[in-house]
């Protein structure tokens, strides 16, 4: 698993407070190419804050962000995008009234000298990207996203993250609103992202889902690191305990630092 010497994205001692509330306190986190890292914790553990810091929505008070081992600063969403970090938010990513192609290229449309949209190449590449991820349930890439099911919408949002040659993809609760079959569809997609060499971070409350796709699991509790667990060497029970009681397995605790 850790064949790659340097993590793709590494956070060292990140702290962030909102007024008197310490949302993150010296948190470490890392994810490598080709792995699925799960980020878990109860409400208020600091998962969302961590994502927002990486996405450039929140600034960090303290700590260091390293990308490919080099220190970087992320001041806004544009900086994160430039590094190749994409965050897929639950239900906030797509415009319902636009079709699949229009959503995939939203904000990054291709145009010619007359400011005319190059529809044909955009449609072609959308179809290619979707089939490369084996997203086969979408009838037509020209149908409005409003007509898609929840799983299909999530697939489109994820596929958009892939199409732009991103290195690190954060998926915030990707299966929260989905049924059983659609959840399977999205989880399969998450695995394929890692197989394609991306560093994938999945945030979820659903441990069953996490144990299905994740290689490693980072547990946060009340803004602190509890530990990083290899999926192969842990159990759901142990993770639940780590989330609720904050008891870390001694050997693994603080392994990331």
């Amino acid at each position: 698993m850790n064949a790659q010497p340097v993590p793709t994205l590494e956070l060292r001692g990140i702290s962030k407070s909102f007024g008197s509330v310490q949302a993150l306190d010296k948190v470490d986190f890392e994810v490598r190419d080709g792995e699925v890292m799960a980020l878990v914790g109860d409400n208020g553990a600091g998962k969302s804050t961590l994502i927002k810091c990486v996405a450039g929505i929140n600034s960090i008070d303290e700590g260091q962000i390293l990308f490919d081992g080099k220190p970087v600063t992320i001041h806004g969403p544009k900086d994160a995008a430039k590094l190749g970090i994409e965050v897929v938010y639950q239900d906030l990513a797509l415009a319902d009234n636009l079709d699949v192609v229009q959503n995939m290229y939203l904000g990054r449309e291709e145009r010619d000298l007359l400011f005319r949209l190059k529809e044909a190449p955009m449609e072609q590449r959308t179809s290619e990207t979707l089939s490369s991820l084996a997203v086969t349930t979408i009838n037509s890439v020209r149908q409005p996203v409003a007509t898609l099911s929840g799983g299909q919408r999530q697939s489109v949002a994820v596929a958009r993250a892939v199409m732009w040659n991103n290195r690190v993809v954060f998926l915030d609760e990707p299966t929260a609103a989905l049924g059983v079959a659609q959840t399977q569809q999205v989880l399969a997609l998450v695995k394929r992202l890692a197989e394609q060499g991306l560093a994938v971070v999945i945030v979820s409350h659903n441990l069953v889902d996490i144990f299905e796709v994740a290689d490693r699991i980072t547990v946060l509790r009340l803004g602190h690191n509890v530990g990083v667990y290899e999926k192969a060497n842990t159990t759901q029970q142990e993770i639940v305990q780590a989330i609720t009681a904050g008891r870390a397995k001694p050997a693994e605790a603080g392994a990331a630092s």
Partner: protein, 409 residues
């Protein structure tokens, strides 16, 4: 059809059969995408009704008059379409058009010390409209004041500006030939035919271009027969309109201006990244923001478009009357323009509708007003009828929206 993967679709690249096409349209219809169908049915119904009531209605002269009657409101409605597409409203457009009328009239007053050539006065009037849009749009986009309130304040304030500017005389006559020609000049027969040819050839070229591009990219091309039929239909429509106008006085210049505005605006909305972003902001502003679109800038530009279109509309109204007076920008202009956009199928909830809707909606509003005048009904009938049509259009929009939501989940 229901399980076709994108890969299979690509493999089946080429024409779409007519059967598939009809099925696709029917599915879209059931899904709530009614397109221009209600408007076309409404137009035919209204036309048949008035034709049965009076002989004058369905005549070449009246058709030519109709173009002059619909142009001002239709141009303003084009601006309204953009505002509605981002899910906002602009209630100031009526009196902004009045302010623009005052500007164009004032800048041509001989020996006033600020007399400019007609074309410059027209440009200044449109520019003032855009500047008002910039001001109002900034309040909406940067500070976050609801557009309803900002433009309601505009509605009051700009009316005050008009009354103040016209002073005690209350009227400014327009002598400048360029300004008066905007609404009153009539093109020669051959110029009319030239427009019809340019429009049809341009439309055909655009259709062929799309076909070739998709073919080359290995994508489905749609039905060839239908594409040809569409070009022949709309081309034929323009040729017929020119023929009817030529049978009377000829094509009014203002008709050409209106057509040009609609074509350019439709191009911007449907074919450019800016237009795409307008739809995205109306559909889901948060998604647009996260995709890196400058939502605030888009909103401000849209309000500037709305102001500029109101400005051009104001020039057309002033030109038509050869003067501006204290009624400039008042009356039913505001509600007619918004109604035209909504009747034309543009959703009040944002993100849905086409620029061409302004043309169809403007036509319906003008036909109702024109027909009711010709038949000799009173203004009360006109107001009630327009109100009912508007209610029907908004009801349809609401039902369509519910329908789409139901299909989605």
């Amino acid at each position: 059809m229901s399980t076709a993967a994108p890969a299979e679709v690509e493999a089946a690249a080429g024409g779409e059969s007519l059967g598939e096409l009809v099925r696709g349209r029917w599915d879209a219809l059931k899904g709530g995408d009614v397109g221009n169908l209600p408007v076309v049915i409404g137009l035919i119904g209204i036309t048949l009704f008035f034709t049965s009531k009076t002989d004058v209605f369905f005549s070449a002269v009246n058709f030519t008059n109709l173009i002059g009657q619909m142009a001002g409101v239709t141009v303003i409605a084009v601006g309204v379409v953009f505002v509605l597409l981002i899910g906002e409203i602009d209630l100031s457009i009526g009196y902004v058009s009045g302010v623009a009328g005052v500007v164009v009239a004032e800048l041509q007053v001989p020996d006033s010390g600020h007399q400019y050539p007609g074309l410059i006065a027209i440009a200044a009037a449109i520019g003032v409209g855009a500047a008002i849009g910039l001001l109002q749009g900034s309040f909406v986009a940067l500070i976050g004041v609801p557009s309803f309130v900002v433009t309601l304040a505009g509605l009051l304030a700009w009316q005050g500006v008009i009354i103040h500017a016209l002073g005690t005389e209350g009227v400014i006559g327009i002598q400048d030939a360029y300004i008066n020609n905007v609404a009153n000049y009539v093109l020669s027969e051959n110029q009319g035919w030239a427009i019809a040819i340019v429009f049809t050839v341009g439309y055909a070229a655009a259709t062929i271009g799309t076909y070739v591009n998709r073919r080359r990219a290995g994508l489905r091309t749609g039905n060839v027969i239908l594409a040809v039929a569409r070009v022949l239909f709309f081309g034929g429509l323009v040729f017929a309109a020119v023929a009817v106008c030529n049978h009377s006085r000829g094509v009014p210049l203002v008709g050409l201006i209106m057509l040009a505005v609609v074509v350019v605006a439709a191009y911007v909305a449907a074919r450019t990244p800016f237009g795409r972003h307008v739809y995205a902001v109306g559909g889901n502003a948060e998604a647009a923001r996260r995709a890196g679109i400058n939502v605030k800038l888009i909103k401000i530009i849209v309000f500037m478009i709305s102001g500029a279109m109101a400005g051009l509309g104001g020039v057309i109204f002033a030109s038509r009357l050869n003067s501006v007076d204290l009624t400039a920008g008042g009356g039913t202009i505001l509600l007619d323009a918004i109604s035209a956009a909504v009747i034309g199928g543009v959703s009040l909830f944002g993100g849905r509708g086409r620029v061409s809707g302004a043309l169809f909606g403007g036509l319906i509003i003008a036909i109702v007003a024109n027909g009711i005048d010709l038949v000799g009904y009173t203004d009360s009938v006109k107001l009630i009828t327009t109100g009912l049509i508007l209610l029907a259009a908004v009801t349809l929009d609401t039902v369509v929206r519910r329908r789409q939501a139901a299909v989605g989940r």
